[in-house]
Structures are given as structure tokens and as C-alpha cells.
Amino acid sequence: MTDAREVLDALDAVRDPELDEPVTSLGFVTSCTMSADGVADVRLRLPTYFCAPNFAWLMVADAYDAVSGVAGVQRAQVVLEDHFASVEINRGVAARAGFVQSFDGLAETELDELRTDFVRKAVLAATDRVCRPLLAAGRTPDELAVLTLGDVPQSQDRERLRARRAELGLPAGDDAPLLVDPLRGEAVGVQALPLHLRRARLTGIGMQANASVCRGMLRERYATVGVGEEEED
């Protein structure tokens, strides 16, 4: 029989698109249970009542898809609690309606473009995570310009960079350049490289600072620890 642990494992793959971290480790999962007759029930929470509804939608919808895909789950129930748009989001996701339909008159398109924009940011942030240690170890920007992904020592950060690039359809194999433009996937030339690295660092710091504030707000809002929550690194 499927147990709640497997459902939680599936939720590990659901990320806050803005922070590029799993909803589990961020503490956004209030509870995750599995009934004897195969109903998976997931309750989600966010740092504030007014968190942006578009990102909230993506997390609830992704959680719904991830949980539904677990073998043995007959029915998935994913509920976002304590949010100004809880009703629209929960109802819309459960009915498999789109975002535009669920927010009638308030939205123009589905959220693919928004998600893509933030995966691009995640690529830049991951680039920074991979490159900063190399620079700190004395590699020059000129040297980085000719490295491939496969030249960089294996690490979680490198695999995260690879995965985000693959999501966007950018070159992600070992022979692909380490540094690529997140929009077009072209290698970043030596001339453009210092600015590219600066931007990557800025993006990474912005994202991490944002995640820090979100975690702090969540702790102020709820006294309980989320299921699968992890301290920030």
C-alpha cells in the first residue's frame, strides 16, 4: 500500500517557482496524509495571506499533478489554506480548469510564460552557485569562458544548473558550454562574461534573500514546522 512518505517524496519535486526550492523544504506543507482507500490529502500554506496568486496557483497545480501521479493514489486532494485566493485556486485546480478561467476577467493567459521567466532566473542563480567557488579558487573569468558543464566537478549545484537548462530546452549535456545565455542558449563570450557573472550573482542573491524573508515570515505566521521542512543552507 502507498503510504504518506511516497506522497511526500513526490512533493519534493514541486518547487516554488520564484524561489527555486521544493515546497517541502520551504515548510509550505502543513500536512500530508494517505487514507486506506487511496485518498492523498495535502494541505499547503504560504508565508503571507497576500502571496502572489499566480505562483500559489503553480505550486498547488504542480502538487496536484505530482500527487496524482503516485502509484496507488486513487484521488488527490490538494488544499491551499489561509490565502486570499484559496477558494479560486483550490476549486480551479481540483476541476482541472485553467488559471484564466479560474480568475475570470483578472488574467489574460496561462502561466507558462511566467514559469519560463523564473526558470531563466533559476539558471542564472544556479550558474552563480557553480561559478563562485571556481572563481574563489582562483579560476579567471577567461578560463570559465572555455569550460564545458562536464569540465566542472560533479556537485548538486551543477546538476541543478543542468536540470534547469534542460527544462528550458537549453544545451545541458557534458559537452555544452558552462556559461550560456539563458534566453538563447548561446555560449557567453569572453567580452560579455564579467557582466554575465555579475548578473548571475545578483540574481542568485536576490532569490536567496527573497527565500530568507519568506522563511522568516512563515515562521512568524505559523508556530508549527512544515512536513519535510529543512533549515536554509
Binding site: E18, P47, T48, Y49, F50, C51, A52, P53, N54, F84, F99, V100, F103, G105, L106, A107, E108, T109, E110, L111, E113, L114, D117, F118, K121, L135, A136, P141, Q191, A192, L193, P194, L195, L197, R198, R199, R201, L202, T203, I205, G206, M207, Q208, A209, N210, S212, V213, G216, M217, R219, E220, R221
Partner: protein, 354 residues
């Protein structure tokens, strides 16, 4: 004023409030939003030092005596700039209106600068109110909250044609400073609500106005920095940056400060305590004592006493023509910014240092 180690700092809190979010001011039928809003603010307070936290009851509505003591007596502030946020759909008499702030502004001459606000969705009536407020109180700045809900609309953009009419009116009326703040919900909901492209457009088209982006664009500090390097009239308001990060996340605070100093520069950053989300006292004391926590920050611009003096008050004094007593001013040679010219960085990326 604040004095430490023989140095005197002139302090301007560029972003402060005098609000009423008590339950008896909640609009019937919108209680959940009014409650959600103030509880969110209260959670922000939790990111400051524990000894500065208030109960939610105290936080709902601040009284005059407490404000004057926290800001001026204990908080070292020389001049406080009121930034209104109306939210009249959720709060009967508004959350924090210009009129509310004006009570203290009129009662304590010289202590406050009174900014007003506008909302392009109010059309001609709103323009009239704006003119009236400027005539009555001599407002030199406005606070714009683009995510305000109004009659089914969830927000607006500075680049809307209607908003341009108001920006033109600002120029004509002598309003110089546009404090812009993004909130989380805006129409259309499928786009990134915190996107700052509209500020970028407005700043380009209105070079005579200063655009102070509050909270330095958090949570879009990266987009903000990149925009600010390209627009000479865009400033970083440090409210929330100091309050939410300096105590709770000192290393991220250092990184954010380093990035802002690099991309925006110390001449275009202004301190804001965001009272009464946070009291100014610990923020001013902590900021004057602050430096990068270690070697790994060595490639960020250096922070000097002059840097701190500019950020805490001298930059805002320039924006608002506040007279600064001579003992707080910088000697002429201390004026050179520590940050490299980041505008050059964008135009000539090949020459940038990593």
C-alpha cells in the same frame, strides 16, 4: 541625530507611517483582507530583534505619543517622511491616508515631510485631489502603491497612459519625488506582479522626476539593480532591506548591501525605517555599526562613515531640500562615491570587473 565615536549622523526616515488598522476600522465584508494585511505587516516586525516586537493589539493602531517617542526621542530621527497607503476598500477611514498624517505634520512643524498619493484609476477627481493636497500642504513627494485594489481592479502600472497624466501633473505642481512600491497582486494576475518595467519606462520618460523604488524592489532586487544602473533618476529606498534582513539574516543583508552599493551606488540609496513596522532606534544603531562580516565580501564596494552619513540622511535631504546643519555635512572631498560608475558597466560590459 545620532552620534557615535565622535561622528554625527543626520537621520531622515524616508518611509514612515501613522496607520489605523484596528478592527473597528475594517470595512464590513472585507474584514479578511484588512486582517490579512495587518497580520502580514506584523509578521514583518517579527524579523526585527525580539526585544522590539509588539503585541498585535499595540500594532493595530499607533498613538501619537508613542510615535513621537519611538521616532524622534528614542529613534534619532531628525525628519520623518510620511508615506500614505490608503486601502480604503479594506479600511473604513483608510489604512494610512494623507489626512491622517497631516494631523501630526501640522502639529509638529519641521519634524515631518508630508507626502501624498495618487491612483490613476481615479481620473479627473484624483487629479483635483492631488492639486488640492499640494496647495494645502506643499507636498514634494508621492507614494504610489500599484497593487491597491479598487472596484474589482487588482492594480495598475506606472506606464499606463492615465498614470502619465498624473506624472505630468506632478512635474507641473513641483512634486519631485515618486516613491514607488509594488505589491503582490496586480492586473493581469498571470504576469509577475513585482515586475518593474513600468517604473523603468516612466523614469526614462520623466527625467525630471526622481523615482525612489521602495524596499529596493524586494523581492525583485535583481531586476531593480539592473534597472537602476541604467536610469540616473532611480533610487533605492532601503526600507525593509534594513528592517527585514539586518538582524534576521545578516549575511544576506551584507550581500544585498554589497550589490546595491555596486549597482546603484551610495549616492542613490536612502534609509527608511518603515515605522511602525520596525522602530528606527535599532536600525540606526545597527547600521552605523555595520560592516561586511568577513573576507568573502572583499570584492564589494567599501562602506565608509561618509557612505553611512549619505544613506542615513544626506541623500534624502538633497532630494527634499532639507537644510542640514553644518556639523552633519560632509567635507567636500568626502563626496566621491565608493561604487564604480555602474552605468558604464552596462554600456561597456567588457570593461567591467568581476
Amino acid at each position: 541625530m545620532y552620534e557615535k565615536d565622535g561622528e554625527k549622523y543626520f537621520v531622515v526616515d524616508t518611509h514612515m507611517h501613522y496607520w489605523n488598522a484596528a478592527p473597528d476600522n475594517w470595512v464590513e465584508g472585507a474584514e479578511q483582507y484588512a486582517k490579512g494585511w495587518i497580520e502580514c505587516f506584523h509578521a514583518y516586525m517579527g524579523l526585527g530583534p525580539p526585544e522590539t516586537h509588539w503585541s498585535l493589539e499595540k500594532f493595530y493602531k499607533i498613538d501619537e505619543d508613542t510615535l513621537m517617542k519611538d521616532v524622534f526621542e528614542d529613534g534619532y530621527v531628525d525628519v520623518g517622511i510620511f508615506q500614505p497607503t490608503d486601502l480604503t476598500e479594506w479600511y473604513k477611514e483608510g489604512f494610512n491616508t494623507t489626512e491622517q498624517d497631516a494631523i501630526l505634520f501640522e502639529k509638529y512643524p519641521g519634524k515631518f515631510i508630508l507626502n501624498t498619493r495618487w491612483d490613476p484609476r481615479e481620473g479627473e477627481d484624483g487629479l483635483k485631489t492631488l492639486r488640492h493636497n499640494v496647495e494645502r500642504w506643499g507636498c514634494k513627494g508621492v507614494k504610489l502603491y500599484t497593487a491597491e485594489w479598487r472596484q474589482g481592479s487588482r492594480g495598475w502600472k506606472l506606464s499606463d497612459p492615465e498614470a502619465y497624466k498624473y506624472l505630468e501633473a506632478c512635474q507641473e505642481l513641483g512634486i519631485k519625488n515618486i516613491h514607488a512600491h509594488k505589491g503582490p497582486t496586480i492586473w493581469p494576475l498571470d504576469k509577475d506582479a513585482f515586475d518593474m518595467t513600468d517604473i523603468d519606462h516612466a523614469a526614462t520618460d520623466f527625467p525630471g522626476l526622481n523615482f525612489i523604488v521602495e524596499h529596493s524592489g524586494i523581492p525583485r532586487i535583481d531586476d531593480f539593480c539592473y534597472m537602476a544602473t541604467q536610469e540616473p533618476n532611480v533610487y533605492a529606498g532601503l526600507s525593509v532591506v534594513v528592517g527585514a534582513l539586518m538582524h534576521a539574516r545578516p549575511r544576506f543583508f551584507a550581500r544585498c548591501m554589497g550589490e546595491l552599493l555596486f549597482w546603484v551606488g551610495e549616492d542613490k540609496m536612502t534609509f527608511g525605517a518603515d515605522y511602525s513596522i520596525w522602530e528606527p532606534k535599532w536600525q540606526v544603531e545597527g547600521f552605523v555599526d555595520w560592516d561586511y562580516p568577513g573576507e568573502e565580501f572583499s570584492d564589494y564596494p567599501r562602506v565608509t562613515t561618509a557612505t553611512k552619513k549619505k544613506i542615513l540622511g544626506l541623500n534624502a535631504a538633497k532630494l527634499y531640500d532639507i537644510e542640514v546643519p553644518v556639523e552633519f555635512q560632509l567635507p567636500a572631498e568626502a563626496g566621491a562615491p565608493a561604487a564604480q560608475d555602474a552605468a558604464t558597466l552596462v554600456a561597456d560590459s567588457g570593461g567591467a570587473k568581476v
